[in-house]
């Protein structure tokens, strides 16, 4: 754990009876980064975020935000962290103005001007009751409340889930703009990979309660590649190499998907009798699908 991390998760586990929701997860989110937590529904993303926000108690492990313990320092964390949940539920009898005022009462650092600018940018009507607003507009209100206090860390739990493409884009652009202005950190969980690819600079993939991959996006893309190897006499029966996620065999070729793929890996494949080895880049979605499908390997980046 270092002070340069906005979030440090150390051996974090959540169990509900015999069911393990999060299994021994460790993660570090550098300050100033836009960190994306990718995973299928039920992978453990929301449980992790709820634990970070002190809404779910960890069975074991430690979670630290901005150097403060997630449980013991919850109030101080709340002053410095903005949070937008997956399905935000607000007091729908309040008007936008009222809920912003209500929320402002809790924050010393509330910037009413900034909040007003955000509302204007997001085209949110201030006088309307929340129950009269669409899902997307309510999400924008949530984002405004999270950003209005000028947080050092913004935690978003699949915030664009259920929103249309236009609103999603608007939403993400607002986040990026805010981060660029403030130099803050964003911890974004989503199962929408395209979105993540557009905004995140560091990505972790979570599956079945475990982190299967965590690395800066570029490095992840560099290290997770597909190798098409041609074998005139047919591919060998087995490929034994670290980081192998999947093998697809044809009559004279094999396509290997590998994480942690570098020049040494290419040479290793050549050593299996391949006549030619072609290196193919993968999109984040392909990496995500291959990682989740293949069970993944742990690629850690400790730069």
């Amino acid at each position: 754990m270092t002070c340069d991390n906005a979030i440090t998760i150390d051996r974090f586990t959540v169990r509900y009876g015999r069911q393990v929701a999060v299994d021994d997860v460790s993660l570090e989110v550098p300050r100033g980064s836009i960190f994306g937590l990718l995973g299928r529904n039920g992978a453990g993303k929301t449980t992790t975020i709820r634990a970070l926000m002190n809404l779910t108690p960890p069975t074991s492990g430690r979670l630290t935000l901005l150097g403060l313990d997630a449980s013991a320092g919850a109030v101080r964390i709340g002053r410095r962290v903005g949070y937008v949940p997956e399905e935000p539920r607000y007091y729908d009898w309040m008007t936008v103005e009222e809920i912003l005022g209500f929320n402002a009462s809790f924050h010393e650092s509330w910037d009413a001007q900034h909040a007003a600018t955000l509302l204007k940018r997001l085209d949110v009507p201030r006088g309307r009751r929340l129950r009269e607003l669409s899902l997307g507009t309510r999400a924008k209100v949530g984002l405004t409340m999270a950003l209005g206090a000028r947080p050092e860390l913004l935690i978003l739990d699949d915030p664009t889930s259920g929103l249309d493409a236009v609103v999603r884009r608007e939403f993400l652009e607002t986040i990026i703009a805010a981060v660029q202005e403030e130099g803050g950190t964003v911890f974004l969980s989503s199962h929408l990979v395209h979105e993540m690819e557009r905004v995140a600079d560091t990505v972790a993939i979570m599956d079945h309660g475990r982190i299967v991959t965590s690395a800066p996006l570029e490095r992840l893309k560099e290290q997770t590649r597909r190798l098409r190897a041609v074998y005139p006499d047919g591919p060998p029966g087995e490929f034994a190499m670290p980081g192998l996620l999947r093998v697809e065999r044809a009559q004279h070729q094999a396509v290997l998907t590998l994480s942690g793929c570098g020049p040494a890996t290419v040479e290793q494949v050549r050593g299996t009798g391949a006549e030619t080895v072609e290196v193919l880049d993968l999109s984040l979605e392909e990496i995500f699908v291959e990682t989740v499908r293949g069970g993944g390997s742990h690629v850690r980046d400790h730069e």
């Binding site: 926000m53 919850a74 209500f102 809790f106």
Partner: protein, 637 residues
């Protein structure tokens, strides 16, 4: 407290008020509309409406329905409402401590509940008074339903606190307000019932009960609220699967660990602060069974050891009128205590051994007569008990729960009073009025055959004697008859076998009688021409031979006479001056010497030839009296 925190508290309070405001307004509007609703209801049921009925019913509905409904509605929505709507996460992720959040929410809920209850009650009382109802009298009416006299408003208030605490507690970990309301209501009623049962079974005196009960109720409520806070402070309270177990443990702990219970067990019954209602000496003279009470609904039976060993509580609350069997092995008594320990509508006849064992029911469901103090007399053979409840004669059998129950109206014993048993133990004797005219009769009732017989009847006015019990039963019954043309009286004996009348004394001014044993009749009477102010002679008649002797003489008119077993000493309560003068209690020795006792003391009975047990109902005290010197040794308190 920082400015941000106080701003946050105000914001939460504002939000709570906005959310609870409909409950408050609805309650007040409902209270205002209730007279109309009740009038409609009563009209539909009865066909007509009385304004005062509506006003009284309104207060009852307010106390029993509206106020608890307010409390349940606010308590259950405090936290479960947020969980159910999904807004709790938004609130919990604001930078304010969970303790502050909980305190503000619970305080606002309590304040709104209180405000709603106060407003609706005030409105109810105002409307009640305007409509000519009983207003605050309803509260005192409710007290008759309670075992805790004078504590109803406090108990109702504290029950509402318990209800609020319980609904808040369940609201902490249940996600639906309705479920939390149901659970809270059920739990608080259960806790309250268990508490009442515990306190009732504790059988404490009133004075310590009410404050301790208040402390207990308030303590439990606070423990439950503290448990709610502890749960709320912990993240994920609403998802804990151990919540029901926690709930059970909290309630059990708050009941079981409540220190006032221990205090309750340790608090002895204090005879010094109770009122002595009845006292009866055991045949052996070793114990006195007394009925002690602090109020009309709380009599209980204590056993006072005459050797000075102390006082033991024999029965629980709402028991009275102990009567020893002639062999001293059983004490029959009257009970108005239900199995819950609360007041029953009917009386029951029970028996218990003097050591507290063998308590059993002989007869139940006996209608009480509120103007009559029920009492029981055990048969000479100690197998049966006759009880006079006012309008009913009940004959039970010791060791059995089958009894004969007879309503006296319409029988030869109508308006009769139980005298006792015949000496053969076969018949119950009653003194009754002659139907349709002046006069008195003695009737017998055969409990085996269920038959009545008029044993003796007279048109003359008569009084009966035998102030002190006749454990061996009556072979003959002493009767004092008024002379028609003077203020003097005649004393006669009526045979319990055939109703034959035997003259004993004529033209006497009074006729206090005592049957110290089956063979002896003692009476104290002055000459009729003394006008009740002369000298009374205490005369003993041997009933077998008919011979008489004068035991002693004493100045004044004797109202009570108790002869010692050896018939050498006597206790008398006498009037030596005018009729409005007080009575003087005196002991008369074998040599005729008279020792006056302090005012108010009367004999309970004798313990051997020279010691007498005396009681003063005015001072609620019992003492052993040295008949030779008149010295009193207090036994109770």
């Amino acid at each position: 407290m920082s400015a941000t925190t106080s701003r946050a508290i105000r914001a939460i309070a504002w939000k709570e008020w906005r959310e609870l405001r409909p409950v408050f307004l609805m309650g007040v509007i409902l209270s205002a509309m209730m007279p109309l609703l009740l009038a409609g209801g009563i009209a539909a049921l009865r066909g007509s409406v009385d304004r005062s009925d509506v006003a009284d019913a309104q207060l009852m509905v307010l106390a029993c329905l509206v106020a608890p409904a307010f409390v349940v509605a606010t308590g259950s929505s405090t936290l479960a409402g947020e969980t159910g709507r999904g807004t709790i996460d938004f609130l919990l992720t604001r930078p304010v401590s969970r303790t502050t959040l909980w305190l503000v929410k619970v305080a606002m809920g309590a304040a709104v509940s209180l405000g709603a209850v106060v407003c609706s009650t005030a409105m109810g009382l105002y409307l009640s008074a305007r409509a000519g109802g009983s207003g605050l009298d309803v509260l005192s009416d409710l007290e008759t339903l309670s075992i805790f006299e004078g504590a109803v408003p406090g108990i109702v208030g504290l029950f509402l606190l318990l209800l609020y605490a319980a609904t808040v507690f369940f609201s902490t970990f249940l996600s639906r307000s309705v479920t939390a309301a149901g659970a809270g209501l059920t739990a608080s009623v259960a806790v309250f019932a268990v508490m009442l049962l515990l306190w009732s079974r504790l059988d404490l005196d009133f004075e310590p009960v009410v404050p301790l009960l208040f402390v207990h109720l308030a303590g439990i409520s606070l423990v439950i609220l503290a448990a709610s806070l502890a749960l709320f402070r912990r993240p994920g309270a609403s998802s804990t699967r151990r919540a029901p177990l926690v709930a059970g443990l909290v309630i059990a702990a708050s009941l079981g660990l409540s220190p006032v219970l221990a205090v309750g067990w340790l608090t002895p019954l204090s005879a010094s602060t109770s009122m002595l209602e009845t006292a009866e000496l055991s045949p052996a003279g070793d114990a006195i069974a007394v009925t002690m009470s602090r109020g009309l609904s709380s009599p209980r039976i204590l056993l006072v050891r005459t050797d000075g060993a102390g006082t033991d509580r024999l029965t629980g609350r709402l028991t009275m009128s102990p009567a020893f069997s002639p062999d001293g092995r059983w004490i029959a008594y009257v009970s108005r205590r239900s199995w819950l320990g609360l007041a029953d509508d009917d009386l029951s006849l029970r028996a218990i051994r003097p050591d507290g064992s063998g308590d059993h029911l002989m007869a139940a469901g006996i209608p009480p007569d509120d103007s009559w103090h029920p009492f029981a007399i055990v048969s000479p053979d100690a197998t049966r008990v006759a009880m006079d409840s006012g309008g009913h004669l009940v004959v039970g059998r010791i060791g059995e729960s089958t009894a004969v129950k007879v309503e006296l109206a319409g029988t030869p014993g109508a308006e009769g009073v139980l005298l006792g048993w015949t000496d053969d133990g076969r018949h119950v004797l009653l003194r009754a009025r002659v139907p349709g005219g002046e006069g008195t009769r003695i009737v017998t009732f055969d409990p085996d055959a269920g038959t009545w017989r008029v044993l003796w009847e007279t048109r003359r006015l008569s009084g009966f004697s035998g102030w002190y019990g006749v454990p061996a039963g009556y072979a003959s019954i002493p009767v004092v008859l008024e002379q028609e043309d003077s203020e003097n009286r005649d004393l006669v004996l009526v045979s319990a076998r055939d109703g034959s009348e035997t003259p004993v004394a004529e033209g006497v001014c009074s006729g206090s009688v005592h049957l110290p044993d089956p063979d002896t009749l003692g009476w104290a009477a002055c000459r009729g021409d003394d006008g009740g102010t002369g000298r009374s002679l205490i005369t003993l008649r041997d009933l077998a031979t008919g011979t008489e002797r004068v035991m002693a003489g004493v100045e004044g008119s004797v109202g009570r006479l108790a002869l010692s077993p050896s018939k050498e000493r006597a206790f008398v309560s006498r009037r030596t001056g005018r009729m409005d003068a007080g009575m003087t209690s005196s002991l008369i020795g074998p040599d005729g010497r008279v020792i006056d006792l302090p005012a108010g003391w009367i004999a309970l009975g004798w313990q051997g030839p020279s010691r007498m047990l005396a009681v003063t109902y005015a001072e609620d005290r019992i003492a052993l009296v040295d008949a030779a010197t008149g010295a009193l040794r207090p036994l109770m308190p």
